[in-house]
Structures are given as C-alpha cells and as structure tokens.
C-alpha cells in the first residue's frame, strides 16, 4: 500500500533521491572507499565467521526463535547476510545495494526480529569483522583504526537503511491490519426494504465509533433506510465516551429520518453504563437482536404504519 503512507518522511521511501541523501549523511568519501578496498579481502576471507557471529548472537536469545526456527527464512537470511557483507566492502553503494538492504530489513521484520536484538547481533558481527581488521595491522594501530573507522562509516550508513526498512515494513504491516479490521468492522446489512442491521463486534474506540457514524449515515442514505437495528452483542465494554458517541449516532440518524434501535446490550455493559451515569433515556433499546428486528418490523410493517417509535410520530 504505497499511497497510504502519505505522511511518512521521505527517508523511508527508498528512492534514488533518498539514496543520495543517505550517502551524503553517511559522508563516505574517496579515502574511505580506498580503505574499504584495502581491507576487502581480509573481510571476505572470513565471511562465514562473520555470518556465524551474527546468528550465534541471535541464537542466545529466545526472542529470535521466530527467525531461527524457520529453515526457509534462515536460509534466505544467511544468503542475504552473506551478500550484505560482500556488498559492504564492494565499494559500490548504489540502488542495488539499497534494494538488497531493504529486502533484508523486510525479511527480519517478517521473522518478527526485535530491532534492539538485531542491533546487538549487527554489532557482534562488526566486532568479528573489526577483529580481523585489527589483525591485519598488528603493529600500526593508527592505520588499523583508520580502516576500522572507514568500515564503520559504511556499517552505520547500512544500519540506517536496515532499521528504516524494518520500521517501514512493520508500519506497513500494522497499517494493513488496521485497514483490514476497519473494513471488517462496520458492515451495514439490509435485511428487508428500509431496514438495516448494524452488527458491531469487538472493541469500540472513539476512532471506530466515528467511522461507524459516518458509515451508518451513508448507508441510511444509499439504502433509504427507515429503521436501523444496531446490535452490540459482540461489544464487551462501552465507556462513557463511546456511549456518548453512540447517542450522537442515534441523534444524527434521526436527523436523516431513520430510527435506531439498539439491541444486545449485555448485563455488564448495561450496568457499567448506568454506573457511569450516561443518559441513555433517548436510546431505543431492545434486549436482543431478534426482539430488535421484531420491533423494527412493527415500525415498518403495514399493520402499523405509524408505530410509536416511528420517526415521524408527532405529538
């Protein structure tokens, strides 16, 4: 869902411009690239060791089991980690590098890897690589430090992309789930002409209550509904804020010429509403959905064109 993140900062878009910006943030200069080139073989000669360092760190934590227990993901993760290190010392930090990092971030997100744990493992891997770099310059510690710092620059640049990729993937998952819940949450079902049923299931918060109001009013217009049965059987708790919102929904529906019958208020919900002192006198409540539909039929039915809860009952 690329267009649902209109408010996301450009840093999480992973486009070419973003890459350029990140490179300038990372400040990887020609000197650094030269240093990296110099230590390239040192790093690559012990590739397996560095990868093992990463996964050994993870294996010590139960939080990483989601990743380690999935052979398919593990295989891909090892492969990507390997490509990752090769690319880090490859000297070319272009779009391909970027994409690969993004894939790795998404993979770790899919495996529900904790970001802090990932950082720890990443650092362990850097230590493993750093150890080899130090060994390469046994006598000249200044030189070793210079090369280590150059490598670290790339590592930090890298970490920035990976963490952002993980975060972005996580946000997208959350957004997708929210969207799915939202779509599921408020169907307005037409049972017969002029009669809508609105079953509400799950947690009602202010956001959902507002959405429910909007959806219901639109449905009243499009179905030309005269009576709406709002069933709260599936709602475990209602607080005073949401109760007030429901009252507002009922009032707004009345302004559009529809009567709302509330059904399925559980014993606990009813008690808590009374305890909270919410004024529900304006709500038209019936015990269960069946009773609500019967009441609606009575209001709508030809036998009683003007029931006492009819929207145009006047006087």
């Amino acid at each position: 869902m690329p267009d649902t993140q209109s408010n996301a900062s450009p840093s999480t878009q992973f486009g070419p411009e973003d890459l350029e910006r990140r490179l300038s943030f990372g400040n990887i200069g020609p000197d650094d690239r030269a240093c990296i080139e110099e230590i390239k073989d040192t790093v690559l000669d012990n590739l397996e060791e560095h990868i093992d360092a990463f996964f050994t760190h993870l294996s010590r934590h139960v939080e990483a089991q989601g990743l380690l227990r999935r052979p398919d993901i593990m295989e891909e993760a090892r492969r990507l980690e390997s490509e990752h290190i090769v690319a880090m010392v490859g000297g070319s930090y272009g779009q391909g590098y970027f994409e690969q990092r993004k894939r790795l971030g998404e993979l770790y997100n899919r495996a529900q890897l904790d970001v802090a744990l990932f950082m720890g493992a990443f650092h362990t891997q850097m230590s493993s690589i750093g150890g080899r770099i130090m060994q390469r310059y046994p006598t000249d510690s200044a030189e070793a430090f210079r090369h280590m710092i150059a490598f670290k620059k790339v590592a930090f640049f890298d970490l920035g992309i990976l963490v952002d990729a993980m975060m972005t993937a996580r946000e997208q998952t959350i957004r997708r789930q929210q969207e799915a819940i939202r779509e599921l949450s408020t169907p307005a079902l037409q049972v017969r002409e002029r009669l809508l049923i609105l079953p509400i299931i799950g947690l009602l918060d202010s956001f959902r209550a507002k959405q429910l109001t909007d959806g219901l009013l639109q449905a009243i217009r499009s179905h030309r509904a005269k009576v709406v049965v709002m069933d709260l059987t599936g709602v475990a708790t209602v607080d005073s804020k949401v109760a007030n919102h429901l009252i507002q929904t009922v009032a707004a529906a009345r302004l559009m010429g529809a009567t709302v019958i509330v059904t399925g208020l559980g014993a606990e919900v009813a008690q808590s509403l009374v305890t909270l002192g919410v004024d529900l006198s304006r709500l038209n409540t019936v015990g269960d959905l069946q009773g609500g539909i019967e009441e609606a039929e009575r209001v709508l039915g030809p036998a009683s064109p003007r029931g006492d809860r009819h929207p145009v009952s006047i006087g």
């Binding site: 009013l217 005269k226 707004a252 003007r306 145009v312 006047i314």
Partner: protein
C-alpha cells in the same frame, strides 16, 4: 435569497436552494406561519438537501417554525439533512428535538400522509 414555497394539495413545500441568511430564515418562518392558515394546510415539508451548513440559529428557527405551524394545525417535517450536516449538528448538541425528520421529500410527504390520516382517523 428568499425561499420559494410551493403548495401541493394540503401540504406546503419549502425547498431551500442555497445558503440562507438569518433574515431569509425569519422571513421563511413568517411566510409559512401565514400561509398555513391561508391555505388550510395540514403539513409543511422543509427541504434542506442543498444546505451543507446549518448553525444554531437555523436549527432554533426550524424548531420554532415547527412549533408555530403546529399551533396553526400543520405538522412540519424537515427532510434531506446530509450525513455530514447531521454529524455536525449532533456534535454541536443541536438535535432538532421535537421536529420530525425524513430522508428526502418523498419520505417526508409519505410521513405527513401517515401522520395526517391518523389525525383524521382519530378525529
């Protein structure tokens, strides 16, 4: 812009076409109060479909209009309140208590027919 009032049988239909000034509203109230008696109307439909904003003055005027026509022997139904307007009104606490509402003109006329015929049966 004044609101045109149409006579349809024993019902008066006021169809609001554009945003109203307070003066227009008061004028509509006076005119309807007058015409209900003049035409011996039994019902009044006020169509607000075209309004995308209603304020406290408008709702107060509509309520007093409904009460006035009631005293003159006609029921008033407000029709065509838009979903957004409905939400805005209840959020402001302007719930038009005591005024009958209906989805649109057709529904409003239907409702009046039912209400008036019941009156006749009762009388």
């Amino acid at each position: 812009m004044p609101v045109p009032v149409l006579k349809q049988g024993n019902v008066l239909i006021a169809s609001i076409q554009s945003a109203l000034t307070d003066r227009d509203l008061l004028q509509l109230k006076d005119e309807l109060a007058e015409k209900v008696g003049q035409f011996r109307s039994r019902g009044v439909v006020i169509d607000v479909t075209a309004l995308d904003v209603m304020d406290s003055f408008a709702t107060r005027t509509l309520r007093s209009l409904a009460a006035t026509t009631k005293l003159r022997g006609a029921e008033t139904v407000v029709v065509g309140i838009q979903p957004d307007v409905a939400i805005a009104l209840v959020e402001l606490g302007l719930t038009l208590d005591g005024v009958a509402t209906a989805l649109d003109l057709e529904e409003g006329l239907e409702a009046l027919r039912a209400a008036v015929s019941v009156h006749r049966d009762g009388g």
